[in-house]
């Protein structure tokens, strides 16, 4: 709509003197449009009236800006409160995991438990080897004896006694194995504790790796505990 120059105009649907209390009712863009329209208006015939209208529009705009700022501040305050709560949960979780890791005493296991278990395993290997060699030596000695020797019985008994002596390592070996098992149980218990703290569960299905499949198929898992999985009669049947 064109407005003739020098003619006071009142925009349609907009009062010249808007309600000073309606600032929060209109939108901020509306107030800005009103102000722009008033500033672009033709030269007023009554400057006082025009200035008053501009003041009211500016007040209106300021009120609405203030409202927007307040709402924005409230929004970010609420957002901060939520984030703070979430970060506190995460911090608590991390602290708990850290405490659990501390309880694991990893240095104790790596500096004391594992080297000790390692030493015991070496001792078992050494003792077993020494005993095996002594037994084989006595057996060879017996095999090399002269059947016509009148002292044969005494000589055999002496060698057999050496074999018995060699088996004495078994007593200490039992204790060594118990010590190793104790270290392994400590590690198992601590890992279970950590797993529970972190909420890590076993996956329902464990997909076998290529290496595991090969070991399974080629039966490379070593001797079965408590005897062979396949009994002798079944093995014999394969050759019938």
């Amino acid at each position: 709509m064109s407005i003739p120059i020098g003619v006071t105009s009142t925009p349609p649907n907009r009062p010249l003197h808007p309600d000073p209390h309606h600032g929060t009712k209109g939108s901020l863009p509306d107030a800005a449009d009103n102000l722009k329209t008033d500033m672009n208006a033709p030269s007023p015939s009554d400057p006082t009236t025009v200035n008053a209208a501009l003041d009211n529009n500016l007040l209106d705009l300021m009120h609405q800006s203030q409202g927007v700022v307040t709402q924005t501040r409230d929004f970010f305050h609420q957002l901060d409160a939520q984030r703070t709560a979430e970060f506190r949960v995460i911090a608590g979780f991390l602290e708990k995991a850290r405490a659990e890791l501390r309880d694991l005493r990893p240095h104790e296991i790596s500096e004391k438990g594992l080297p000790s278990a390692d030493a015991e395993l070496e001792a078992i290997t050494r003792d077993t080897e020494v005993a095996t060699n002594a037994i084989m030596t006595s057996a060879e000695t017996i095999m090399g004896m002269n059947a016509g020797d009148p002292d044969l019985k005494v000589a055999i008994d002496d060698e057999v006694m050496k074999m018995f002596e060699s088996c004495a390592f078994q007593d200490i070996t039992g204790q060594r194995v118990s010590k190793i098992i104790k270290v392994l149980k400590q590690i198992e218990e601590r890992l279970n504790g950590l797993s529970q703290t972190l909420g890590i569960g076993e996956s329902a299905e464990h997909a076998l790796t290529a290496e595991e499949i090969r070991r399974r198929d080629l039966l490379l898992n070593g001797p079965a505990i408590g005897g062979p999985e396949t009994d002798q009669s079944a093995i014999d049947a394969l050759f019938d």
Binding site: E120, D157, V160, M161, K162, F164, E165, C167, A168, F169, Q170, D171, I172, G174, Q175, R176, S178, K179, K182
Partner: protein, 139 residues
């Protein structure tokens, strides 16, 4: 007359090995695995030597020493121990405890046939002295 040893050892493998050594010297052997069984044997049988493993399961047989002596007053006692790997001081403690309790013979493990032969010789000497004392009292 052969001598008779009562062996208290909770490991049957060790009991077999020790038993063979004593048999080689000419002893009869009886093996038990608990302190209760040992006391029962002492009630019903006559022995020339009582050989005790110190740590039987989690029990220290030296704690029962007085009970054995009450059942077999003159029978000499030998103790054997391998100590405990978890408690390195346990072996020394046991040996000292046994010495204070006037145990006749100490056999730290592992021991060998020569050690058993020496103990058996000492047992013969012990019984010779006992017999001599009895004869002296009788005369």
């Amino acid at each position: 007359m052969s001598r008779h040893v009562l062996i208290l050892e909770d490991s049957r493998t060790q009991a077999t090995i020790i038993s063979k050594m004593f048999q080689r010297v000419g002893y009869e052997t009886t093996c038990v695995v608990t302190s209760d069984e040992a006391q029962e044997q002492l009630r019903v049988g006559a022995f020339d030597l009582l050989l005790l493993d110190v740590f039987v399961e989690s029990h220290n047989t030296l704690d029962d020493l007085q009970g054995y002596r009450d059942l077999a007053p003159h029978v000499p006692v030998a103790i054997m121990t391998a100590g405990q790997l978890d408690n390195p001081d346990a072996s020394a403690e046991s040996l000292n405890k046994a010495r204070r309790a006037r145990v006749n013979f100490l056999l730290p493990k592992p021991f060998y046939f020569d050690d058993v032969k020496q103990i058996c010789g000492d047992v013969d000497t012990y019984w010779s002295h006992i017999d001599a004392s009895k004869q002296a009292v009788a005369s």
